[in-house]
Each structure stands twice: as structure tokens, then as C-alpha cells.
Amino acid sequence: MSPDASMELVCPAGNLPALKAAVDNGADCVYIGFRDGTNARNFAGLNFDAAAAREGLRYAHAQGAKVLLALNTYPQAENWQRWQGALDQAAALGVDAVILADVGLMDYASKTYPGLRLHLSVQGSATNYEAINFFYERFGIRRAVLPRVLALAQVEQVVNHTPVEIELFGFGGLCVMVEGRCALSSYVTGESPNTCGVCSPAKAVRWQQTPQGLESRLNGVLLDRYEDGENAGYPTLCKGRFEVNGDTYYAIEEPASLNAMECLPEMLRMGIKAIKIEGRQRSPAYVAQVTQAWRQAIDACRRAPHDFKVDAAWSESLSKVAEGRQHTLGAYHRPWK
């Protein structure tokens, strides 16, 4: 590893205080979205209008941090103008990069704003270097965020065969990991995460305390029933408990959070350029706590990668905020790979 190896910490922000919390606690980049379905965290009251984005850019740039804008959902024929408008606005605001998934939007961006830095979103579902190199050759992408399906050995294969910077998820809620291709919620709500920007539209979600426990429902479909004191999860179909052949269990995915902190030395060694923290829907308190722990970890790893150990205090602050309160290395660690 070269001594000047860099690895950026990329943190989420759903609002201005979260952006400031990320910057104050040592994020190199903060990623944000506009207040509509052009990004994959389209929740009421969340995200940035133009004025807030402008102030966020001013604040981040004053402290040497970058702001990336996620435009990572897929426009449809009837609403293309909205995505195009969002991209025009991002370019006018002077964001440091846009995070895109859709090929059409990528084409428009590269032709209209050749100076605008393009990142391939995790929603672009590119899991191999041929796919990433295609985006590089056609649209000049500078970075790709890898879907959370590859073991570290596979990640290294990708890194070694592309000139594109690779960004990996380090921490945050996991889903069934078919990013950019998941249509699960549309079977129940008629809205898919990739076109409407949210896994479970809040208007279709209901929580109700019943004598049997706390029930979560999506458009009337029972997703889960939690006993008193049992940890709850986000009300998504993929994390529901269902009766299958007489057994009731997490038939698709158990709620869990990724925490790949122990893999940092390995990621640094193979030349990973950025670590991404999930959670634009979370509060400024979460952003501050998680950013602080990861800043310290990345700095410690860069100073002495061979002696790197995950500090108990970092783990504790990360465990506290995790969905499902359990951590996993996800696909990064596969003994059989």
C-alpha cells in the first residue's frame, strides 16, 4: 500500500443539520437528495430544496468537504422532465458529483455537462468490471458504488480490472440486495422503489398496537407482529415474517445492519477509494455518531493498517443505532468463496 493511499468517508444527510453533523464529525463527502422521487429516500419532509442544498454546499465547501447528489431512481417516459430538471439543478448548484443509475440520465448528463463528475449508484446494479467499464467508456464515470453482493475477493477482482474508483458500503441497514432491480413493494403498493424512490411508501404503512402485539401493515398486508420488548424493524416486505409451510419466520431477509469496519485494512490495501454510510432517512444524531466512529476508524487504519483493531467504543456506538441490533459482514465475508 502506498503511504498516500486515500479513502474517503461518504456520509448520508437527509437535511441540513445532518449535513452539518457529518461535516463537523469528519466526513469527506456528504450525499444528499432533492425533495422528490428522483432519489431513493423519498420521504415526507426529508431531503433538500434548492435553498437548503445551496447552504449545504456552502457549509461543506468552507470546511473542505464535498457534496454528492443522489439522482438514483429511474425516470419513466411520462416523467423524464423531472429527472432532467433535477440534473440541470444539480449542475447549476455546483455539486461535486451526481450519483446516477439510469443509463438515459447518464447519457444526458455526460453530453450536457461534460465537466460534471458522474458516480454510478449502487442502484445501477453493476457487479462486474465489464459493466463498470461500459459506463466508463460510454459516459466517463469516475466512481462506482458496488452492490452489497460481492465477497471481498470478488471486489478485488473488480478493482484490479477497472480505472473507475470503487466505493463500498461500510455501514447501515441491509435489504435483500438486488439494488436497482427490486420490485417487491410494487406487488403490494403498486409503487416500486426504483421508480418512486421508496421501498414502503409511508402512506401505505400502518402501525397498530393489538392484544397480540405491535403490528406493521403495508397496504393492509400484515408484515410483522412484534411481542412486547421485541426489537422492531423497518416495515418493508423483505424484512417481514411470513407463514411458510406452517412455520412463521423471516422468509426473505432478517433485519440486520452491515458493519464492515473490521475489513478496513483489507479494503485500504486493495485500493477502495471510498466507504459509504447508509441512512439518509436517519436523524442528525445518527449521522453524528456514525460519522465520528468511522472517521476515527479510517484514520487509525491509515496510520497503522497492520495493527488496526476495531475499538470497543466505536462498535458500541454503531451497535446502538443499528436496525435489528445485529451486525453482519454481509457478503464481504464468504468462507466458501
Binding site: 441540513l16 443539520p17 415526507a44 402501525w207 426489537n231 432517512q281 442528525p284 444524531a285 443505532v321
Partner: protein, 157 residues
Amino acid sequence: MKLPSITFPAPVAKLLALLPQYPHAVLFVGILNAALSAHLRPRDLQPLHGKQVCIRVKDTGVEFHFSVTPTAFVARHRVPRPDLTISADARDFLLLGLRWEDADTLFFNRRLTMEGDTELGLFVKNTLDALEIPVLDIFRPGPEAVHIRDKNILRSS
């Protein structure tokens, strides 16, 4: 600074729940209108207009019922099914108000529950998160509200 780990004993909740809740609500909206309106204009809360919201402090048995009009927060009498009910213990509301704790973390731990219109609940949560300063700092005296930054809270709960 660190908040003590207290919960009001169950008899307190039983006793206070028997009292009329409307006077609390009048006091509550009075404070909201006086302190919050400089930072959060009722007209910006359009999705809440005409909706009845209940803040239930579980360990004290106290409920605040209110609604929002284009010009003010207004106290309401208790109804069986408010449009949105947000419940937590007093200490957890304090932690949220000070921005020392994350709402989703409390939700995962079952310390914060939201019943009724989930979209409305997310709108409230996200609107409060987007305020320039934490909600409870707004109520602190002085010309400039000050951020309370204390990392000990990371180990408090």
C-alpha cells in the same frame, strides 16, 4: 452532561392519566406558538392542517392533543383515534428534543411508537430534524440558542 436514566413509576402515570388532559394541551400549544413559531411557521406544516395529533408521554400518563391551522397550534380535546399518535417516555422525548438520540434507534428499541397516519408521522419527524437547532434548544433562554454537544450521551442508554 448526561440525562439520568429515570422512568416515572407506574402509579404516577395511573394518577395523571385520570386528570383532564385538555389544560395540558392548552399549555403545550401555548409554548409551541410562543417558542417554536419563530423557527417553524404553522403555514409550512400544510400536511398537518386539520389533523389531530396526540403526543403521549407514556410514563407520566399525560397526553397532549392538538392540531395545526395555517396560523397556529391549537389545543384539542381527546378523541378515540387521533390522526397521529406519537408515544414515548418523558426521558426519550427529552433525548429526541435535544437531538441526542435518533428517532429510528428509539423506534427499533420500541421506546418510540407511532400510530395512525405514518406519512404524517414521518413528516413531523423529518420537519423537526430539519430545524436548524434542536427543538429543546429553542426553549432555552438567551438571545442565541446553543448546541449542546456532549459525547457522554453515547454511553447513556
